[in-house]
């Protein structure tokens, strides 16, 4: 029972790590970036290459995955994305789907089509029994990382001026410029940060979710569910949503396997009916 709860939370946290970058690009920057998974995949492949080809430690891979994806994000932002902030949402969809297609094919070409697997350091693999609850070590690690991440993000976005500058720039780019906000820099930094988070998520998720060139397409739905249910204006919304969905999914599959696959979609629709703008909607700002 508690083990299931634990697994559910861990799974939810993993979803959150993967999706929180999207909360930033889609939620805060209002850019429908369906290519989010491509950045996550980049992080995953960085980890695979570093560990399997160069034998580096998993712990080094996490920051590396973050920075490589962030750098990639920054480059793409400067060259491509920035041209589309003013474009319609549909154009953004088209553009980012194009990027996904290219990423999928490119990953296939460079890394091959098969599942990539990594070997975790021994202290992270296996499980420990604590008061009758089976705790997977890696899952515990995920939960800890995620909890820090969520707190950090929440602080940055709500307590620093950077958060409000960013939202100001999204609301009205021209006026934000006219009032002294360096919009291009704010956007580039934010986008890079969001991409970096995706990369980190990809690196962390490779162990449990697997990694192959179809990763960006396969998990796109999950990212979107988390962000949609959680709402796009806070970090705590998607965080809670991810945990809720994680627990519901795991528990549903454990207790009622026959309708397991319906649980997550059903829950999503239900929550969207009750709270169309997400868990913590900010006064219907959008």
């Amino acid at each position: 029972m508690l083990t299931i709860l634990f697994d559910g939370i861990a799974y939810g946290m993993l979803l959150f790590i993967l999706a929180c970058g999207l909360t930033i690009t889609l939620g805060l920057m209002n850019f429908i970036n369906l290519a989010h998974g491509a950045f996550a995949m980049t992080g995953g492949y960085v980890t695979v290459v570093m560990m399997n080809r160069y034998g580096l430690s998993f712990y080094w891979c996490l920051p590396a995955a973050f920075f490589v994806s962030a750098a990639l994000g920054a480059i793409l932002e400067r060259t491509l994305y920035r041209r589309l902030y003013q474009a319609s949402h549909l154009d953004q969809v088209l553009f980012s789907v194009g990027l996904v297609f290219m990423a999928v094919a490119a990953a296939d070409y460079v890394m091959g089509g098969q599942q990539q697997l990594i070997q975790l350091p021994p202290e992270l693999s296996g499980r420990t029994e604590i008061i009758g609850i089976g705790i997977g070590r890696y899952r515990l690690f995920t939960i800890v990382v995620c909890a820090f991440l969520a707190m950090g993000l929440q602080l940055i976005l709500s307590k620093t001026r950077f958060g409000s500058r960013l939202r100001a720039a999204v609301d009205d780019r021209r006026v934000a410029m006219g009032l002294g906000i360096n919009v291009p820099v704010v956007f580039a930094l934010t986008f890079a940060f969001g991409s970096g988070l995706a990369g980190l998520g990809g690196a962390m998720g490779a162990e449990i979710l697997g990694l192959d060139p179809n990763f960006p397409l396969k998990f796109m739905i999950y990212f979107l569910i988390v962000v949609a249910v959680g709402g796009t204006s806070t970090v705590s919304g998607p965080f809670l949503a991810a945990i809720l969905l994680g627990i519901a999914d795991v528990a549903g599959k454990y207790y009622v396997p026959a309708i397991g696959p319906f649980v997550i979609y059903g829950l999503m629709i239900l929550m969207l009916i009750v709270r169309p703008n997400g868990l913590f909607a900010r006064g219907g700002a959008r």
Partner: protein, 240 residues
């Protein structure tokens, strides 16, 4: 003891290829207010936005406190000391009143506290989101926001529109006070000349993108001919 704060020389600007302003030259001294008048569509907003760096520059120079800002990007100009109230207010809708003020704040005499003291109404609504404000409250916030930049030059595009008469009086008095005592200057656009002229030092009238009159406010106020010619009340349909 005044020195030129803003010097504009032979300025031409517009939107992309389209030219709106041409041959604009003017100087504003520290501590003075300039009323910018003209009929609809004559380029008032364009002039102010050009000073803020938000239109396409075609020719001429702009100097702020001796520094050439002609090529500076808008956000740098704000840093150099320009505070701007856009005509359509453009409150950041997903920020609260307080965040609207702090997001763009720069250090200086104007603080949150002082803005709130000037517009108590804003303090009452400090946690409201930008898009949950009444029209007049948005106008106050736009003015407060420009002050939070702690500018040397205030650009106010129809700042009185939508404000209650009593607030209009108070705001104008406060602006005068600020400009006088803190050595900053202001350009104020207003549709109703008779309302603003008694309070401003100088007046400038634009027509079809060019300056057609430049002089002291007091003189203009009694110069019915000029008023009638360039700010005609009866003619319709001359605006672009």
């Amino acid at each position: 003891m005044t020195r030129p704060l803003l010097v504009i020389d032979g300025l031409a600007a517009g939107y992309g290829e389209a030219a709106v302003l041409s041959g604009i030259s003017l100087t504003i001294e520290e501590g003075r207010t300039l009323a910018l008048l003209g009929r609809n569509g004559t380029g008032k907003t364009t002039l102010v936005d050009t000073i803020a760096g938000l239109t396409t520059h075609h020719a001429g120079r702009i100097h702020l406190l001796g520094q050439d800002i002609t090529r500076l990007r808008a956000d740098r100009r704000a840093a150099a000391g320009i505070g701007w109230v856009p005509q359509e207010r453009n409150i950041f809708k997903s920020l609260t009143v307080e965040e609207n003020l702090t997001a763009i704040a720069r250090s200086g005499p104007w603080t949150l506290k002082r803005v709130f003291a000037m517009f108590p109404r804003l303090e009452e609504r400090r946690r409201n989101l930008g898009n949950q404000l009444s029209g007049g409250e948005q106008q106050m916030l736009a003015v407060g926001r420009a002050l939070m930049v702690n500018p040397r030059l205030l650009l106010l595009d129809e700042p009185l529109e939508g404000l209650a008469p009593i607030i209009v009086d108070e705001l104008l008095a406060a602006l005068r006070q600020i400009v006088r005592s803190e050595g900053i200057s202001a350009i104020i656009i207003e549709q109703k000349a008779r309302k603003i002229l008694p309070l401003s030092d100088d007046a400038l009238i634009l027509d079809r993108g060019s300056i057609v009159h430049h002089g002291s406010s007091a003189e203009l106020l009694v110069n019915d001919d000029v008023m009638a010619e360039h700010l005609a009340v009866s003619r319709i349909g001359t605006s672009a």
